[in-house]
Symmetry: C2
Subunit: 211 residues, 2 copies
DNA sequence: TCCTTCTTTTCGGTGAACCGAAAAATTAGT
DNA sequence: ACTAATTTTTCGGTTCACCGAAAAGAAGGA
C-alpha cells in the first residue's frame, strides 16, 4: 500500500508544516526531496488520489487527516531510530540522519516497539523534536518562532533548525541550548543568564521558543 | 551498484551450495525466490554480465569468486541480524527470518559493525550456521552429510536443515541438538548418549555431522 | 532413433518512480 | 493591464524488476 517514496513525500510535507503554518509548494517539495518538479507533480496526483493529500492544480499541497496520521507514523520511526542510534551506537547527530532515512522504511512495527521500549519510550529526540505516539498523536507544546515573538517575551528554546549552517555552533558558543530559558531583547538579540547575546541575522527564522 | 534483488539472488545461490555440492538450476532458483522462471533468466544474464555468476544457456548457475564474496557479505548481514534479533529482542527463530530479510538490505556497514561488536563478534548464528567474517572469509569446519557418513562414524551435529518439516521437532524429542555428539548406527539411526534413536526417512539428507 | 515431456529462453508487456523539454498557468514588474 | 519571469503541468521517454505466453532446447522412454 505504502512505499518508501510515498513515505518520503508525506514526511517532507509534514516536516514543512510542523513549525511553520505555510503550506508547501511543489517546487519546495521537489528541491527538498532532490527530485525534478515533474516527478513531484506526478506523485502528488497519486497521493491526492489516495486521499493522503489535497492539492488543486498550481496550488500548494497539504496533508489530509489520513496523510497526517501516516506522516506522523513515519516521523515517529525516524526519530525513534535516530534516538536509538545516538544513544546505543554512539552516532553523532550529523551521522544519524542518513542511516535513519533508510531504516525507517525497513524496520517492522514489532522491532520499532522493541526499540521504543528499550529507550524507555522517549517523547523527544536528541534534537528536542517531539516523537509522535504509536497511535499517531503528537504531543505539541504552544510555541512561537523567534521572529514572531514580541519584545520582552521569555520562553524555553524548543527547537533550533538544523538547516541554517553554523547556527547550532553559534548558539552553542553562547551556551544557548535546547531547553534554555531566554528572553527576547531585540530582533536578533536574546538575554541568556542575564547577558545579552547577538545572533546571526538568519537566526530569528530558525529558533522556536515556548509561547 | 548492488540492489536488494541482486542480493537476494546471490544469497540464494550461495545458500544452495553451502551444504551441497550440486549447482543450482534456474527453475530451482525461481521456485526458491518465488519468481517466474523468465525473471530468473533475465536477472542471471545481468549477474553474469557483472561477473558475479557463471552460466551458459540451459546450464546450471554458479557463483564466481566475486559473486561468492558478495554473497558471503550478505549472508553475514543476514545471520548477524538474526542473531541480534534473537538475543536482544527476544525474537523466536521462526519470527526472525522475515525481519532479517528486509534489514539485511537496509543496515549500513557501520551499524552492522556496531551490532557485531555488541554481540561479541559471534562466529555462529543460533542455528549453528557460520557467520562469515567482515572480509568475506568463511570459517568452515569439514563436514559430512548424514546420508554420506560411513557406518560407525561419530561427530558433532553441525546443522539441521529447517526445510524438512517436523525434523527439528523429532530431533528435539530425541534430545539431539546442534552440537550433540552422535554416532551413525544405520541409514537413519543414530546413537545418542548410548541410546539408539531412529529418525524419519527424510533425515539423512537434512543432517550434517562434523567429519 | 523419434517423439513426448520438461526446462529454459525469448518476446512483448506492466507498474513504479524517476527524468528533461516544451507547453500552460500563475505571479510580478512597470 | 500587459508583458516578462517564474512555477507547474503535460508529455514522451528511461530503468528496474517483474510477469505470462509462446518458441526453442535438452532429456527420457519406447
Amino acid at each position: 500500500m505504502s512505499s518508501a517514496a510515498v513515505d518520503d513525500y508525506l514526511k517532507m510535507i509534514y516536516h514543512h508544516t510542523e513549525w511553520q503554518t505555510e503550506r508547501i509548494t511543489p517546487s519546495q517539495l521537489a528541491s527538498e526531496l532532490g527530485l525534478a518538479p515533474s516527478s513531484v507533480t506526478e506523485m502528488v496526483r497519486k497521493l491526492a488520489a489516495q486521499g493522503l493529500v489535497t492539492h488543486r492544480p498550481y496550488g500548494p499541497i497539504s496533508l489530509t487527516a489520513a496523510g497526517e496520521h501516516r506522516a506522523a507514523a513515519i516521523i515517529r520511526r525516524h526519530r525513534l531510530i535516530e534516538t536509538w542510534l545516538v544513544r546505543e551506537f554512539g552516532y553523532t547527530w550529523a551521522d544519524v540522519h542518513e542511516e535513519a532515512e533508510i531504516l525507517e522504511h525497513a524496520i517492522s512495527d514489532r522491532l520499532l516497539d522493541g526499540i521504543d521500549e528499550r529507550l524507555g519510550r522517549p517523547r523527544f529526540d536528541p534534537h528536542g523534536d517531539a516523537i509522535p505516539d504509536a497511535d499517531g498523536t503528537v504531543t505539541r507544546e504552544p510555541f512561537v518562532l523567534l521572529a514572531d515573538a514580541p519584545l520582552g517575551h521569555c520562553g524555553r528554546v524548543l527547537r533550533v533548525s538544523d538547516r541554517v549552517p553554523g547556527l547550532l555552533e553559534a548558539l552553542d558558543e553562547a551556551s544557548v541550548d535546547v531547553g534554555s530559558v531566554v528572553c527576547v531583547r531585540g530582533p536578533a538579540v536574546l538575554e541568556v543568564d542575564g547577558q545579552d547575546v547577538s545572533l546571526p541575522t538568519t537566526a530569528p527564522d530558525a529558533v522556536w521558543l515556548s509561547a
